[in-house]
């Protein structure tokens, strides 16, 4: 997912245990969860709840399409474009980018995923596209499976590692070996999630054109 931004060439560390304490890295000041972001997200979630409560077509479509587009684009862009670029940056540049990008991603991704799924389910219920009588029901179920797989990978691997990296970077002396290990987790998971996003695009365009 978005955490693929951390994927790249491993941080070069000379065996921390064998070589003694790792050298201090210069870490910019950052908040793991940006407070300002919470203020921005609160009204978005409020409007999402209102959209579900009024159950009107336009607001539900807006939240589902806007959230889904943001989710897919962010995943693909960070996974396949920005991630490899970050991997080629110097370690200080990569750390600076990570400390500025990842806290925002920590707020943005759950928000767009919640928007997409909550509005999407309500929209499907309103339009009857989640019923077995819907002609393209198989494609709808396929989208459930794709989202399910993505959710398990994102919740089980990416998000915990995302937070762990940020907490590690908050330490007075972050351990590059720990960060490198968590980055590897991102690398493998991001590839799967990127493929899943392509599957999502195939399914959603099929449903929209049917």
């Amino acid at each position: 997912m978005a955490d693929a931004a951390l994927v790249g060439a491993p941080i070069q560390v000379a065996e921390p245990e064998a070589a003694g304490p790792h050298p201090p890295l210069e870490i910019p000041e950052f908040q793991i969860v940006p407070r300002v972001g919470l203020i921005i997200i609160a009204p978005i979630i409020g409007l999402l709840i209102a959209a579900i409560a009024v159950n009107k077509l336009w607001p539900l479509t807006f939240f589902h399409v806007a959230g889904g587009a943001a989710w897919t684009i962010i995943d693909l862009f960070l996974g396949f474009v920005l991630g490899p670029i970050l991997g080629r940056l110097s370690i200080p540049a990569r750390i600076e980018m990570t400390t500025r990008l990842m806290p925002k991603i920590l707020l943005i991704m759950p928000t767009v995923v919640t928007m997409t799924l909550a509005a999407g389910w309500q929209l499907a219920t309103k339009m009857g596209t989640n019923l077995t009588s819907f002609p393209q029901h198989g494609w709808v179920v396929a989208s459930f499976v794709v989202v399910g797989v993505m959710s398990v990978i994102a919740l089980g691997l990416l998000e915990p590692a995302n937070i762990a990296v940020l907490v590690e970077l908050k330490k007075p002396r972050p351990n590059p070996a720990v960060i490198e290990r968590l980055m590897k987790r991102f690398m493998y998971s991001a590839g799967i999630l990127g493929a899943m996003q392509i599957a999502t695009l195939v399914i959603m365009t099929k449903l929209a054109s049917s």
Binding site: P110, T114, V152, A164, N175
Partner: protein
Amino acid sequence: MSEPKYPPVTQFAMVSLALIVAGGIYLSSHLPQHVSLTPAVILLAASAVLMGVNLVLLSRVREFDWPRFFEVGKWSLLAYVVIAGMIEYVFLRNHLKGGPLVVLTLSLVIFAVHVPMLVGFTVARFHQPAEFPADTAAS
């Protein structure tokens, strides 16, 4: 990197989450038909058992930064309770009731507990108390 041997908390949690997701897909893919709840209940029960096993295994770990685990876990729990509450709201908004509501609500409980537990574990397992002042974690 040397670290204590930990139980497979992440693996168990992912399987547990996959089981409740599978149960949810099973129920939602048969709407509006009334289908047997048995498969969903079995998946839910298996998921709950895995979470219980995970909690027991984790509680037996001796060298573990429990303060860090609870500090990160409680904020994650707050976030996931909010998310689970929103999903529950959508269920109720669509007049879901009876057995499916019970199964899906219990699935949400597992979701809202297991993910924060996993987040707290992932952070705490890499923590060495001597190098991390307690007041920097939530900043």
